[in-house]
C-alpha cells in the first residue's frame, strides 16, 4: 500500500552461492556491532550453517566487503556480542552451537602493503553442554559489573546459566513445549520468558537462582510466582528490550498479529494490531535514552515484503522491501549512517535506506494507442448502417423453420433385450423397451445455432432422456432414445410428444412439435378371446370390415394368428392384465371391456391405426363414426365422476401426510434448537433426553416420508384413470356432439394434458373453468349459481367444494350430451359466437 520502495545500497548477493537449503537461516544468526579494530563503521556478522562471515560494506563496489570467512566445527544457532571475560578491551563474539558455545575475539594483523590487513578470530573460551540449545541471551546478570553472563535456553525450555566457561545453575520449566524467545532487561535485572501457555512471565535473576535445581531451598513449582506476567493470548514470535528512559527500559514483543510494548515494570505502553502477517521487527531509539524527547520507533517487516515504521501506534512510513526479510536491524556504516539491514531466507544480506522518489502508478499500464476520430466515426457509421439494415429487414427474416430443418420420428420394435443395455435408477427393470428414433436433416447446418429436443411422456411411460441439447448440427443427426413403462399403472396416453426448440443463427427461437404413437405391443399382448364383457363401444365405418391382423401392424401375423378367432381379438395390458376385446362385424367394429377406463387407449390406438390403414391403401372416402347410446354415456360419465372423486380422495390423503411432515419438521427444528442451547450452556448439561427425542422425531419423519412416496404413486395412478376416462369422454364427445366449439370448450375445460406425473392439482384448475362455463355459457339461473358456487373460505378439496365440483361437472356434461339431440337454432349460433369472443 505504498508508493515508496527501499533503495538498495549494498548487498552480499554476488558472493552468495546460488543454492541454499530451506530453513538453515534463522533470525538470530546475524548481528551488527562495532569493534575496536574497525572503528570507522559497523561490522555485520552472519552465521550460515557452520560458516561465519563478517562483512564491512563500503561504497566502492570493487573493493572486497568480506573481511572474514571462517568455517566452524558446528552449525551456528545464534551470534551475540558482549564482554564475556573481565579483562578484555574489545567486544567479544559469542557463537552458540547446538551443544556448545564459543567466544571469539576479532583481531587485525597488519600485512603486506598490497594484500592489506588480515583479519582473524581468536578463540577465547569454548564450553560444551549436554542439553541441545535453542537460543541464548547475555548480559550483566545479577548486576555483575565486570562482564556479561550467558543464559542458554535449551530446546525443552530449560535455562542454563554460565559465567565464562563455568556452569552456574539450571532452571527447568515444564510448561514450555515450543521454545520461545527469551530476553534480559539489564536495567532492572529481569528475565522475560515466553511460555507455551502464550503468557509472558518475568522473573528476576534472583528468583531464577532460587528456582535452580541446585538451590538449597527446595520450594519448587508451586511457589514460582513471577514478578509480573502478561497474557498475550498468542504465540510470541520475537522480543526486544530497549532502554528508553532513565527510569525504565521498554520491552517490545511481536505476536502473531499484534505488537506489544511494555515498560519493564509491567505497564503496557501500547499495542498495535496488524492486518498483515508480521515476520520480524526491530525497535530502535532516536536520540539517547536520557534525553526527554527521544523517540522509540519500531519497524516491522510483513510476509508480503512490506516494511512498516511505527511510532507508538501511528504509522510513519511504509514501503516495499524487495524480498522477504527474516531479520531487521539498523547499521551505522562509514558512508551511510542509519542503514536498514535485512536478512532474507536464503542468507542474502541487504543494506538499504528509505528512499523517497515515489514510483507513481507502478502497476497501471496506460493505454497509449492513438486513434483517429475520423476513422472511428466511419466505423461507427458502418455499424449503424448494418444495424439499420437488420431492423428494416425484420419481416423478410421470418422464414419458416421447416425449410431449415426436417424432422422424422420413428419407433422401433419393442424388445426386452434392449432393457438390459440401459441402466435405470433404483435398479428397476422395465417390462419392455422401445426405441424412439429422431432423424433431423438440415440442409444448411450454419443456419441453426442450437437445438434442444424435449421428450414429454405421461407416466407410466418414461423416456431414457428427457432433454437432449445439440450445440451444433451436421447435415443429419440421428438421435435414439428409448421409451419404457415405469410403474404399474395402465397406460393413459398412447403417444409421446416431442418438442424441438430450434435457435437459428439470428438468435430466434422456434418450437416445433411432433407426436409419435407408441407401438401397441409395448403395453399390450394378445390373449385368448374373452367374449363376455360388460361395456362396449361400437365404431361404424362406410367401408367393409378389414382383417384385424391388418390393422394391428405392431404385431406379427404369426403372433396374432394363434389368438384371433371369429374376427375377435383380445388384448391384455402388460401392467394390470385387464383385457379389451375387439370384434369386427360387417360395417362396424366393437370394442369391449369390463371397465370403461380400459377402452380408451385401445380405442385411441384402433382409430389411429384404422386411419393409418386407409391412408396406406390410398382410400380417401371413408368415415368413422362411433355409435353411442345414452346408456354408455351415462356409465362413462358416472365412471368419470367416480374417478374424479377417488383422485381427490387420494390427494386429500397425501395432503394430510404432508401436513404431518410439516409438523414433524417443525418439531425437529425446535428440538435441534433446544439441543443447541443445551450444548452452549455452561457447563454442558445432559443432552440425552433431547437427543432421544430428536432421533425419535427423525424416525417418524422417515416413516411419514415413505408413506408420502406411497401415497404419491396412488395419486398418480388415480390421476391416470381419470385421464383415461377423460380422454374417452372427449372421444365420445367428438363423435356425439356436432358443435365444435362446445367440444373444444369441454376439452379445454378438462385440460387433461395438465395431469402428469408432477402436477396433480387438477381439481383446482378445473373448478375455476367449470364454474365459469356454468355461469357464463350455460346460463344458469341465479339460484343455481348460488347453489353451485364453491365456498370461498375453503379449499377445493374440502368436502363441500368437492361435491359442488362433481355436481358442476355432471351438469355440464349432461347439458352437452343430452342437448345435442335437439337441433340447434340459428339464434343459438349467434349467441355462441358472442360467447366465444367472451371466452377469448
Amino acid at each position: 500500500m505504498s508508493i515508496f520502495k527501499v533503495k538498495q545500497w549494498w548487498s552480499n548477493e554476488k558472493s552468495q552461492s546460488e543454492e541454499y537449503e530451506d530453513g538453515i537461516q534463522n533470525e538470530n544468526c546475524i548481528i551488527v556491532d562495532k569493534f575496536n579494530s574497525h572503528n570507522d563503521s559497523d561490522l555485520i556478522i552472519l552465521g550460515q550453517s557452520c560458516i561465519l562471515k563478517i562483512y564491512k560494506p563500503r561504497v566502492d563496489q570493487n573493493e572486497s566487503h568480506t573481511i572474514l570467512e571462517s568455517r566452524l566445527d558446528d552449525i551456528v544457532l545464534q551470534i551475540k556480542t558482549g564482554k564475556f571475560s573481565a579483562n578484555c578491551a574489545d567486544r567479544q563474539i559469542l557463537i552458540l552451537h547446538p551443544n556448545s558455545y564459543a567466544i571469539y575475539e576479532l583481531d587485525k594483523q597488519g600485512g603486506h602493503s598490497d594484500v592489506g590487513d588480515q583479519n582473524f578470530i581468536a578463540p577465547v573460551i569454548k564450553h560444551s553442554f549436554t542439553r541441545r540449545a535453542h537460543s541464548t541471551t547475555c548480559g550483566p546478570f545479577g548486576n555483575s559489573k565486570s562482564r556479561d553472563l550467558i543464559c542458554i535456553q535449551a530446546l525443552d525450555g530449560t535455562l542454563s546459566l554460565f559465567d565464562q566457561d563455568t556452569f552456574l545453575f539450571m532452571c527447568i520449566f515444564n510448561d514450555i513445549i515450543i521454545p520461545g524467545p527469551i530476553s534480559y532487561v539489564a536495567y532492572s535485572d529481569l528475565f522475560i520468558i515466553c511460555k507455551s501457555t502464550w503468557i509472558l512471565e518475568i522473573y528476576s535473576y534472583q528468583q531464577l537462582c532460587e528456582f535452580s535445581e541446585l538451590s538449597i531451598r527446595q520450594n519448587k513449582n508451586n511457589t514460582r510466582i513471577p514478578q509480573w506476567t502478561y497474557n498475550a493470548g498468542e504465540e510470541i514470535m520475537s522480543m526486544q528490550v530497549i532502554r528508553t528512559s532513565t527510569n525504565f527500559a521498554s520491552i517490545v514483543a511481536l505476536g502473531e498479529r499484534h505488537l506489544y510494548c511494555f515498560q519493564d515494570n509491567g505497564l503496557m505502553k501500547y499495542m498495535i494490531r496488524f492486518d498483515f502477517i508480521p515476520i520480524c521487527f526491530h525497535a530502535y531509539l532516536i536520540g539517547w535514552y536520557y534525553e526527554p524527547n527521544s523517540r522509540l520507533l519500531v519497524m516491522v517487516a510483513s510476509e508480503d515484503f512490506k516494511l512498516y515504521l511505527y511510532e507508538a501506534t501511528t504509522l510513519l512510513w511504509s514501503c516495499d522491501l524487495a524480498h522477504k526479510a527474516i531479520s531487521l536491524s539498523r547499521c551505522f556504516l562509514s558512508s551511510l549512517s542509519g542503514g536498514l539491514l535485512t536478512l532474507s531466507t536464503n542468507g542474502i544480506v541487504n543494506v538499504s535506506y528509505l528512499g523517497t522518489e515515489p514510483n507513481l502508478n507502478p502497476n497501471a499500464i496506460p493505454i497509449n494507442e492513438v486513434f483517429d476520430p475520423k476513422q472511428v466515426q466511419v466505423e461507427l457509421e458502418m455499424v449503424e448502417d448494418s444495424l439499420q439494415k437488420v431492423l428494416d429487414a425484420k419481416e423478410a427474416l421470418n422464414e419458416d423453420t421447416e425449410d431449415i430443418i426436417k424432422i422424422k420420428v420413428d419407433c422401433g420394435k419393442p424388445s426386452k433385450n434392449l432393457a438390459l443395455q440401459l441402466t435405470f435408477e433404483n435398479s428397476f427393470t422395465p417390462l419392455q423397451t422401445c426405441s424412439v428414433i429422431v432423424i433431423i436433416t438440415c440442409e444448411d447446418p450454419k443456419l441453426v445455432q442450437s437445438l434442444q429436443i424435449t421428450y414429454d411422456c405421461i407416466p407410466p411411460l418414461s423416456s431414457s432422456e428427457t432433454t437432449i441439447c445439440l450445440d451444433n448440427i451436421n447435415g443429419t443427426e440421428i438421435i435414439e432414445t428409448s421409451v419404457f413403462l415405469s410403474g404399474d399403472t395402465d397406460i393413459s396416453d398412447i403417444g409421446i410428444n416431442i418438442k424441438f426448440t430450434v435457435i437459428d443463427n439470428m438468435g430466434k427461437v422456434r418450437v416445433l412439435s411432433e407426436r409419435q404413437i407408441i407401438p401397441l405391443n409395448l403395453y399390450c399382448f394378445p390373449l385368448e378371446a374373452v367374449e363376455e364383457n360388460s361395456y362396449q363401444m361400437t365404431i361404424e365405418t362406410n367401408q367393409r370390415k378389414i382383417d384385424l391382423i391388418e390393422i394391428f401392424t405392431d404385431f406379427n401375423k404369426e403372433e396374432l394368428e394363434g389368438f384371433i378367432s371369429k374376427d375377435m381379438l383380445t388384448f391384455a395390458y402388460r401392467t394390470s392384465h385387464k383385457t379389451v376385446t375387439i370384434k369386427a362385424y360387417d360395417h362396424m367394429y366393437r370394442i369391449e371391456a369390463n371397465e370403461v377406463s380400459e377402452i380408451a387407449p385401445i380405442l385411441d390406438h384402433f382409430l389411429h391405426k384404422l386411419e393409418d390403414y386407409y391412408n396406406r391403401i390410398g382410400l380417401t372416402e371413408f368415415e368413422i363414426k362411433v355409435a353411442i347410446n345414452g346408456e354408455i354415456i351415462r356409465q362413462i360419465m358416472h365412471k368419470f365422476l367416480k374417478s374424479v372423486e377417488s383422485h381427490a380422495k387420494e390427494r386429500i390423503k397425501l395432503k394430510e401426510l404432508e401436513e404431518e411432515l410439516n409438523v414433524l419438521q417443525r418439531q425437529f427444528t425446535l428440538v435441534q434448537k433446544r439441543l443447541l442451547v443445551q450444548y452452549g450452556s455452561l457447563p454442558p448439561s445432559d443432552c440425552d433426553p433431547l437427543e432421544f427425542l430428536m432421533n425419535d422425531t427423525h424416525e417418524r419423519i422417515k416413516t411419514v416420508a415413505y408413506e408420502i412416496i406411497q401415497s404419491k404413486t396412488c395419486v398418480v395412478s388415480a390421476g391416470n384413470t381419470l385421464r383415461m376416462i377423460g380422454s374417452l369422454i372427449i372421444h365420445v364427445l367428438k363423435e356425439a356432439v356436432t358443435d365444435n366449439l362446445k367440444v373444444k370448450l369441454i376439452e379445454e375445460m378438462l385440460s387433461l394434458e395438465t395431469l402428469n406425473g408432477h402436477f396433480q392439482e387438477w381439481e383446482e384448475a378445473v373448478a375455476q373453468v367449470s364454474s365459469y362455463i356454468l355461469n357464463k355459457i350455460l346460463k344458469k339461473s341465479e339460484k343455481d349459481k348460488e347453489k353451485l358456487a364453491p365456498v370461498t373460505d375453503q379449499d377445493i378439496l374440502s368436502q363441500t367444494n368437492l361435491k359442488k365440483l362433481l355436481k358442476q361437472l355432471r351438469i355440464i356434461l349432461e347439458k352437452v350430451f343430452f342437448n345435442v339431440r335437439e337441433p340447434s337454432t340459428g339464434d343459438g349460433n349467434i349467441t355462441r359466437i358472442e360467447e366465444f369472443v367472451e371466452v377469448i
Partner: protein
C-alpha cells in the same frame, strides 16, 4: 556439517514458511516421534487454517442469517437503534448522479472484505455443523497428542491453547474444542481471559449470542485486549445493535487512544447507520493515524464527492491510485471527479482506462452509464443515447434503462417541437 532437521523446522516455523515446515515435519515424524515437532506441526496447520478461514479477522459484517439465532434478536427495534432502517442519504435524493460511485467507493477493500467474510461464514457454518453432529465424537480423528494426553497430565495446561486452536480451526469441531476449554479452565489455578475469549468464539460459531456477550464481558474484566473489543463490536453488529457496538468502541477508545481498528469500526458502524458526516470524521482520524488505509481514504473521497467538492475527492482518488493496484472503480471515480472539476481533457481517458480494466458486466454497464452522463453534459444527445444503449446491452440495470426512456421521450418531444 548438516543442519539438523529439528532446527530447520524451528527456523522455518519462526520465519513463517509453513508449507515447507509442514513437509519437513511429515518427513521427520515418520521416523521418530518428537513432542516439539508434533506441536510445531499442529501450530503451523492451525495458522494456515486460521488464515484461510479468516480466523484473524475479528470483525465481520455478515448479519445473522441463521434462523436458529432468532432467539437473540428483538424483532422490532426502536428507531435509530438498528441497521434495518433504510436511511436515505444525499445520493438517494440525487438520482441523476450515478450509483456506481457510491457502491464502489470502497473499491478493493470492500471487495476483499466481502469475499473474505463469505469464506468466514462458510467456515463458521461448517464448524457449527460439526458441532451439531449427534453422537459421541470419534476418537480416531483426534491428533495423536490429544489421544494420549490426559487432562491430568502436567503438560495439558501448556498444550491446551495449541490444542484448542487446532481443534477449532483445523478439525472444525466446536464441541470438542469447548470441552478442552472447560477442562483447561477447571485445571488452571488462575483465571485466563483467553479461555473466555475462545469460548466466545465457540458460542459465536454456534450462534448463541447471549453467551458470547457474557464470555466476552468476563474476559474483558480480566484483560483489556484489543481482540476482545473487536469481537464484542462484531457481535453487537451481528445481532444488529449498533448503539451497543458504538458504546463498546467508546470504551475501547478510552483504553486505546485513537486506535485505528476501533476508529475504523466506529466509522463503519456510523456509515451503516447512515450518519455519513460522523463516519467521515472517524475516517479522517483513521487516515491520520494510518495514512495507508485504503478504506478510510476511499470513504473520505466519496464523502467529498457527494458533498460537492469533486476537486478534493479527486485528490484523494489520485492518492489511492498511487498506492493501490489499479482497477476499474478507481478510474471510473476519477473520471467522474474530473468531469465535475471541468477537467475535460482527463475525463475520457479515465473512463477509457476504467473500461480497459473492467472485467465483470455490471461494472462495465455502470461505466457506460457514467459515460452517457459525460455525453449529456457536453450536450451530445446522440452519444449519450449510444452509451446508454451499450450499458443496457451489457447488463440490464435499472438506472440505464430508465435514463434511456427519459432520453427518448425528450428527443421525441424536441422533434415534435421543431416540426
Amino acid at each position: 556439517m548438516e543442519v539438523q532437521s529439528d532446527y530447520k523446522i524451528l527456523n522455518l516455523y519462526k520465519t513463517r514458511e509453513f508449507d515447507k515446515c509442514l513437509k519437513l515435519c511429515d518427513v521427520v515424524l515418520q521416523t521418530k516421534s518428537d513432542r516439539m515437532i508434533e506441536y510445531i506441526r499442529m501450530r503451523a496447520m492451525t495458522i494456515q487454517a486460521k488464515i484461510a478461514g479468516n480466523g484473524y479477522e475479528e470483525v465481520n459484517y455478515m448479519p445473522a442469517q441463521d434462523d436458529l439465532t432468532s432467539t437473540t434478536v428483538a424483532k422490532t427495534p426502536r428507531q435509530g437503534t438498528s441497521f434495518q432502517r433504510a436511511i436515505k442519504t444525499a445520493y438517494a435524493e440525487d438520482p441523476h448522479v450515478t450509483a456506481t460511485l457510491a457502491s464502489r467507493s470502497g473499491t478493493n477493500t470492500a471487495h476483499v472484505r466481502t469475499a473474505r467474510t463469505a469464506l468466514h461464514t462458510a467456515a463458521r457454518a461448517s464448524r457449527a455443523a460439526t458441532a451439531l453432529a449427534v453422537g459421541s465424537t470419534s476418537v480416531l480423528d483426534a491428533p495423536i497428542t490429544l489421544r494420549f494426553l490426559n487432562k491430568d497430565d502436567k503438560s495439558f495446561i501448556p498444550a491446551a491453547k495449541t490444542l484448542f486452536e487446532y481443534i477449532y480451526y483445523c478439525e472444525g469441531n466446536v464441541r470438542k474444542a469447548m470441552e478442552v476449554a472447560f477442562q483447561a479452565q477447571k485445571s488452571a489455578d488462575t483465571p485466563d481471559w483467553w479461555w473466555n475469549f475462545s469460548l466466545a468464539r465457540c458460542y459465536e460459531s454456534l450462534g448463541v449470542y447471549r453467551n458470547v456477550e457474557e464470555c466476552l464481558r468476563k474476559s474483558l474484566n480480566q484483560n483489556k485486549h484489543i481482540l476482545i473489543y473487536l469481537r464484542l463490536i462484531a457481535m453487537y453488529v451481528t445481532i444488529n445493535q449498533p448503539l451497543s457496538a458504538l458504546e463498546v468502541c467508546k470504551q475501547g477508545l478510552s483504553v486505546f487512544h485513537e486506535y485505528t481498528p476501533l476508529l475504523l469500526e466506529q466509522a463503519r458502524i456510523h456509515e451503516q447507520m447512515g450518519n455519513m458526516a460522523v463516519a467521515v470524521k472517524y475516517y479522517r482520524m483513521v487516515a491520520t493515524e494510518d495514512p495507508s488505509n485504503m478504506e478510510a481514504i476511499a470513504n473520505i473521497a466519496m464523502y467529498n464527492f457527494y458533498n460537492d467538492q469533486p476537486e478534493i475527492a479527486l485528490r484523494y482518488y489520485r492518492r489511492l491510485l498511487a498506492t493501490t493496484p489499479a482497477g476499474p472503480e478507481i478510474y471510473n471515480n476519477l473520471g467522474l471527479c474530473c468531469l465535475y472539476c471541468n477537467q475535460w481533457d482527463l475525463t475520457l481517458p479515465c473512463f477509457r482506462q476504467a473500461l480497459y480494466y473492467s472485467v465483470n458486466p455490471e461494472s462495465r454497464a455502470n461505466i457506460w452509464f457514467n459515460l452517457a452522463h459525460v455525453a449529456l453534459s457536453t450536450g451530445d444527445m446522440a452519444l449519450a443515447r449510444r452509451c446508454l444503449l451499450t450499458s443496457v446491452a451489457i447488463s440490464e440495470h435499472g438506472p440505464a434503462r430508465r435514463a434511456l426512456r427519459v432520453l427518448d421521450k425528450r428527443l421525441r418531444a424536441r422533434k415534435n417541437n421543431t416540426k
